[in-house]
Amino acid sequence: MKTWKEIPIGAMIIEPGSSIEFDVTLWRVFRPVLDKNKCTKCGLCWIYCPEGAIMVKEDGSYEINLSYCKGCGICQKSCNVKAITMVREDEKSST
């Protein structure tokens, strides 16, 4: 991370899109785990995710970018086919 000398004067952010550099992995207690076999590619999780942490891949399938996921669980609630489960960060997921 930047030292006090490297941070622009007045703590300004002088480049657009700086949130891309901000990893929130450590904020999470639960992480979403997507079961691709259950997923119908409906895109509701992608619509509901408040952080834009869910990416659409070229083949139309979805992937969760855990660098930007804060673990709110909204995607799990939005998923009608229950393809997303929230798993504690200190537990291993089965998928």
């Binding site: 006090w4 004067i9 007045g10 703590a11 002088i14």
Partner: protein, 388 residues
């Protein structure tokens, strides 16, 4: 150059006019009001081309100043007492956003009880807000320091507060030498600072500083104010060459061979000088130090000046209830703690809420300083003129 009779307030207003400020936002408060009244008059007369914003409070005044300063404008505001207290939270933002605002604070006591008279209790709670703080002794110094303040503020990108004592300085007319306007404009040319809110730049200003960043962001202010010591010294030197009046971070008087000294701030220094002269006539080796630049605090200068002094009295005009000592006293003690040779340091508090500190009071203070120095230990704080 011309010599005119000006009140301390008008001296500041003339300095602001000559500094060719671009933006003023202020709210009236006694005893500061004549400053902004005079400035609005200058603007109305066409003598000063600036945007004057009448705001609904001091909180808004300083907030508007921060915004204007971010556009690169030269910005001024003035306040007193409750007004300064009302600005409190924004003062920290002004320094952390590195906006070079210049503010005159006409020192007045804080309520309760309501009191419009002079002491230092308004500015002392703002010691830690990251502003450079000057304290002046005369209307001339108020004028000169305001001019210097723009230079320093814009060099180090920190706000500067010029403190002048309410009524004693703000409303008393003194002879002031006004330099030619061109001389001032050459000294502080209106070079636009960077406009940080220009649509051409995609800056984010006023960011969230999470635990990973806040420390580094605040440290920048600390580093800037430490670095400003050099700028202030250079400005003092340069100013005396151009304008002929010499100022230091501390103004000392008869300190060369002094055995006993007093440390003061602001206009009361004038009375103290008179007393030093009287005591010198009687052969007493007494001297006086007035702290002109309170933030950054002139530790090295204080240590050096007090090397051969036996006893020193520190006069506070504000209180730190329940603290280890009153504001100036604790700073002086802290500065001297690691000094090789340190005097006995006696604390005094006086002149609260506009009560006069008289010649006899200063004579008494020198007597006490002498007495405790001979005893080798100071008394608890002496409250000058307190009944009961």
């Amino acid at each position: 150059m011309k010599r005119v009779a000006l009140s301390g307030n008008y001296a500041v207003a003339y300095a602001v006019k000559m500094a060719d400020v671009d933006f003023v936002a202020a709210y009236p408060i006694t005893p500061q009001t004549p400053i902004v009244e005079k400035i609005s008059e200058f603007i109305a007369n066409g003598e000063l081309e600036a945007e004057y914003v009448n705001v609904e409070s001091e909180h808004s005044a300083i907030s508007a100043c921060v915004g204007a300063s971010l556009t690169g404008a030269r910005v001024f505001t003035a306040t007193s007492s409750q007004g300064l207290a009302y600005m409190h939270e924004v003062l920290f933002m002004a320094s952390s956003l590195r906006t070079p605002i210049v503010m005159a604070n006409v020192n007045r006591a804080l309520s309760h009880p309501l009191n419009i008279w002079n002491d230092h209790s308004d500015a002392m709670p703002e010691r830690d807000c990251g502003w450079i703080q000057f304290w002046v002794e005369s209307a001339q110094e108020a004028f000169d320091t305001t001019i210097q303040a723009f230079k320093i503020a814009e060099e180090v990108l920190l706000p500067v507060m010029v403190n002048l004592d309410g009524f004693i300085l703000s409303h008393v007319y003194e002879a002031v030498e006004l330099p030619d306007e061109e001389l001032v404009r050459d000294y502080i040319p209106s070079k636009p600072l960077i406009n940080r809110v220009s649509p051409k730049l995609s800056y984010t200003i006023g960011v969230v500083g999470p635990p990973e960043y806040y420390f580094e962001m605040k440290y920048q202010v600390l580093e800037a104010i430490e670095r400003s010591r050099n700028n202030i010294n250079n400005v003092n030197k340069e100013f005396s060459k151009i304008f002929g009046r010499k100022y230091g971070n501390i103004n000392n008087y008869m300190m060369e061979d002094a055995k006993y000294a007093l440390i003061t701030m602001g206009a009361v220094t004038g009375t103290a000088k008179f007393v030093v002269n009287e005591l010198r006539k009687k052969g007493e080796k007494v001297g006086l130090i007035s702290i002109r630049c309170f933030r950054p605090f002139p530790m090295d200068e204080v240590i050096k000046l007090l090397e051969d002094v036996k006893g020193v009295g520190v006069l506070d005009r504000a209180l730190t209830p329940g603290g280890p000592g009153h504001p100036l006293y604790t700073d002086i003690c802290c500065a001297l703690y690691n000094a090789k040779n340190k005097p006995i340091i006696q604390s005094f508090v006086g002149g609260l809420g506009g009560r006069d500190i008289l010649v006899d009071d200063f004579i008494k203070m020198f007597e006490i300083v002498k007495e405790v120095s001979e005893e080798g230990r100071p008394k608890p704080c002496v409250y000058i003129g307190l009944r009961g």
